[in-house]
């Protein structure tokens, strides 16, 4: 009986100590970690749009962030989009689940601080008043060049083999996939972790939306010439024109599963399908509402 108290006491102390160490490390490293993640995300976004440090984007190119929220008021649920307006202000557009317009509320938010979740939440709470519960879903970037839509950048996450896979997808204005980038994952190294390799993720590039809807995963081995074309950018060996010709030839093919990681391959394929599918559906509704209500969005 005496033993059990010592055991409980020592275990509690051990847990508290471990928690203290981990918590302290988190506090010290959190800022730097967030900064790194942000820098990485920016780089990945520009990379997907075809720009890099050597090839800076043109001055007319702007990214407009669109934040989606789920608004619950009592038992009623609606979608809310926080979007910028032409005169550098923000507006929160609430749309019912059946696609009908609810209301639009101007939100006082400093554009420089819009990227921070806490700041957004504060501004939204002040603008919408009490009684509404907001849940942040995801952000989408609409890329415009001189007012014309050039691309969409979707970020989202979906379940992989073990935990969530965070993904960044770039779409053309006609919803053809431009490219994708895995931002975070915990798949097994050597197997599922190969989803970050060019020979897997580049298979999605150039798939039109109509094809994407029926996209499946096949377990046949990846043809050698296709693999060479997929990796041409990184490894060379093929001139760009020849690689593009081979890519064209395989444009209609399904996704070739990774050896030994069919589940991860399927998870990514289904995740990308779901993300793009839902986005196109929501964007159509949002565009219609914006046009009907004459809300001046910059995109």
């Amino acid at each position: 009986m005496k033993d059990i108290f010592t055991i409980v006491f020592r275990l509690t102390v051990a847990c508290l100590l471990a928690g203290l160490v981990m918590g302290a490390t988190f506090i010290f490293t959190d800022q730097a970690k967030k900064h790194n993640e942000h820098a990485r995300e920016q780089k990945a976004m520009l990379g997907l749009l075809g720009y890099s440090a050597n090839k800076p984007p043109p001055a007319g190119l702007t990214m407009h962030a669109l934040y989606r929220y789920i608004v619950s008021e009592g038992r009623e649920v609606s979608m809310g989009y926080l979007l910028p307006t032409k005169d550098r202000a923000f507006v929160f557009v609430a749309i019912a689940l059946d696609g009908t317009f609810r209301n639009a509320t101007p939100v006082a938010l400093d554009p420089a601080k819009a990227g921070e979740e806490g700041e957004r939440e504060k501004a939204l709470a002040a603008a919408l008043g009490p009684g509404k519960e907001l849940r942040y879903a995801e952000q989408t970037l609409v890329v415009t060049e001189d007012g014309v839509r050039r691309a969409y950048l979707l970020s989202g996450r979906f379940p992989g083999f073990k935990t969530f896979i965070s993904m960044l997808i770039a779409l053309e204005p006609d919803f053809t996939i431009r490219g994708l980038e895995v931002m975070e994952h915990e798949e097994d190294p050597g197997l599922g972790a190969e989803i970050t390799q060019d020979y897997f993720k580049k298979q999605f590039s150039g798939k039109p939306f109509a094809r994407l809807k029926e996209l499946a995963v096949v377990k046949t081995p990846l043809p050698a010439e296709y693999q060479q074309a997929l990796e041409a950018e990184k490894r060379g060996g093929l001139d760009p024109a020849a690689a593009a010709a081979i890519m064209d030839q395989y444009r209609d093919h399904d996704i070739y599963a990774l050896t030994g990681a069919t589940i991860s391959s399927r998870a990514v394929t289904n995740g990308v399908k779901a993300m793009v599918g839902k986005f196109t559906y929501r964007l159509a509704i949002l565009d219609r509402v914006l046009a009907e209500e004459q809300i001046a969005a910059p995109f």
């Binding site: 010592t6 051990a14 160490v21 490293t29 790194n36 820098a39 190294p189 030994g260």
Partner: protein
Amino acid sequence: MATDKSNFQLVVNGILNENPIFRLVLSMCPAVGISTTVMNGFMLGIAVLFVQVFSSCTIALFQNKIHPRIRIPTYTLTIATWVTVIDLVLAAYLPEAYAKMGIFVKLIVAFAIITMRLEMFASKESVTASFWDGIGMGLGFMFGMMALGFVRELLGLGTILGYDVLGFKPLLFFVLPFAGFFCVGLMMAFFNYLESVYKRAKQRV
């Protein structure tokens, strides 16, 4: 009880006599699953080396304070703490390395080799001895993983460290997870054979 081995002997012991993979046959899941290439083996090896050394030192430091009936939970807690700390620090200050090593570090929490080393060695020995034992075990694990990775990458993909050396892929079989068992078994037999040859040669002299 103090060990009678010198620091150097402790390190060599971890690499040769008590190699975690080929002698102690511990932590087989990662050895079989991850050792598909030399680079993967090296990355996991480095991650294990750090966690092993830090955990060994921590346990050796607090060995008198740990109640014998709750030692395993305490070990797991220690390992998990170090894994989290290393993961956070890498992500914050070495983003380039983290992009490559992140997934390996997070795998470590449940590795048998680390828990076993804490139980067998660090909980009884001094901090210095535990430090060198941790280094030896970490290096032994790393070399074992790299040796496995070398064989599997060469036979499965025809490459070494990503460079094409054979120009063709001999047997894709070797990259698949179950081939890891065959590789471990065959290499264990090979090393045992080498040792018996060495001993016989020594006897004759």
